[in-house]
Amino acid sequence: MSAVPRDPAALPRLGWTLAALVLLWPLLRLADFEPVRLLDEGNLRAMGHFIRGFLPMETSHDFMALLGKAMVETLAMATAGIALSLLLAVPLGLAMTRGLSVSRIGPGRRAWIGTLVRALVRALLAVLRGVPELVWALLFVRVFGLGASAGVLALGITYGGMLGKVYGEILESTDGRTARGLLEAGSGRVAALFYGLLPHAGGELVSYTVYRWECAVRASVVMGFVGAGGLGQLMDQSMKMLNGGEAASILLTFLLLVLAADGLSEFLRRRLA
């Protein structure tokens, strides 16, 4: 028996691993990484004291009324924000997907146009989500004034950038053979999406969208900036004041909403399956 050739992937693999380890060290130093600090007695006491402050939870009538109002507002803003972001994300995400690119299997001489368009869309999405929410919020304050409108729009735009990118990547990571088969049989890209990619990726897309909605519910920063209120702002404030009882009540609300979102996601995915 002749000698078995050595694994050709082994050497590069070793090289990358070593390179990663060498890079990790300065990063750990930069981030001040000292896990022993977590065991420091004074720190443990401070944290214990703070966590004990979570009980009893704040349940006064005033606060509950405030919480209820904030919750309704938050749900409305999150839903509206996600709806707006979908308007951006769906077309851009599709444009970004290589698996749906006709030109990649199609006439090669035009392939560079497709590549260029995808790169441009990628860059556009990066700018949409890369410009901080606060900057968008300040921009929209100039148009709408203070209030929910500016916040929801800022949210819609940044989340549009995020969803678009993630949609594109999900569609690319799924088994593309079906869609490719359809494109090869002359189908258009939208039809190939619905018949070839969504059956594989539908669950994943739904699950990510619901997760984003859940993030929108928690989104404190933008909403508070422009005076849109909501749960996030309430939370920020209780936390800055280190008011444990209020924080605990809001956290419980968050947890309930997250559980609800999780259930919704599971329900939708099951329906799709």
Binding site: R37, F50, P132, T174, M235, D236
Partner: protein, 257 residues
């Protein structure tokens, strides 16, 4: 003859559309204002203040250092979160029975439903003001996020390869590594890199715990209306995010071959 989509499905879709419409109505959003001439003028004026970006060498050095710090915090927190996320995602995807699934899901939901800011406060108390607290705070929240995303990606993966390997008598971990990981790896990688990109941007939080970084710098310049400086910081953040985004695209393309 059965219809293509069940009545319950149609009902669900209608319900979702109604929820969106209801939300817009409730918020009374004058979206029309977006398309007025004054809106365009205001927007142009606003953007104009950001141009040109600040290029003072001293400030650039400050931005460079903050960028390094941001890189370290975001990368480490994402790495920790990937480790934690994978560990929790396996039981959360129902591979160790329904009981473990519920338990793991609950832990993930808890980690995730506590916002970064709250984790930051806790971690500052636990580890003191500074980048380490920021790293831990981001790692904890991100674990919850990645754990959930990883778990759902797992559940959406075809089962046949894994069943074939367990059919050979392999244990759950081995079956996962040999038959599931190759299938979900591109998606997991995409999520992890994407979360890294998000963590680069976690602005307010890091400033709040005194970790500095680009986020704190940005918030500071915006508060003081130093738009030119803010613009430099935004460009630095964008450059990092686009680099990560490009790396993600490149890596996954390489994997797909």
């Amino acid at each position: 003859m059965r219809a293509g989509i069940s009545p319950a499905g149609v009902f669900g879709l209608v319900l979702l559309a109604a929820a969106a419409a209801g939300s817009f109505a409730f918020l009374e959003m004058p979206l029309g204002a977006l398309f007025t001439g004054s809106a365009a003028r205001e927007a142009v004026a606003f953007v104009g203040r950001f141009i040109p970006p600040e290029t003072d060498p001293a400030f650039l050095a400050k931005v460079g250092w903050a960028a390094l710090e941001t890189l370290a915090i975001s990368l480490l927190s994402t790495l920790l979160a990937v480790l934690g996320g994978v560990t929790l995602a396996l039981p959360a995807a129902g591979r160790q029975g329904p009981l473990a699934r519920q338990a793991a899901r609950f832990v993930l939901n808890l980690l995730r439903s506590v916002p970064e800011l709250v984790w930051a406060t806790l971690m500052v108390l636990a580890a003191g003001l500074g980048p380490f607290a920021g790293t831990l705070a981001l790692a904890l929240h991100t674990t919850g996020v990645l754990g959930r995303l990883f778990a759902e990606a797992l559940e959406n993966t075809p089962r046949a390869p894994a069943q074939a390997v367990t059919g050979l008598g392999a244990g759950p971990l081995a079956a996962f590594l040999y038959a599931v990981l190759p299938l979900v790896a591109p998606q997991w990688l995409a999520y992890a890199l994407y979360r890294w990109e998000m963590n680069i941007r976690m602005a307010a939080i890091l400033g709040f715990v005194g970790a500095g970084g680009l986020g704190a710098l940005l918030y500071y310049s915006l508060s003081l209306f130093h738009e030119a400086e803010a613009s430099t910081v935004i460009l630095a953040m964008l450059a990092m995010a686009i680099a990560v985004d490009g790396a993600s695209a490149w890596l996954r393309q390489r994997m797909a071959g």
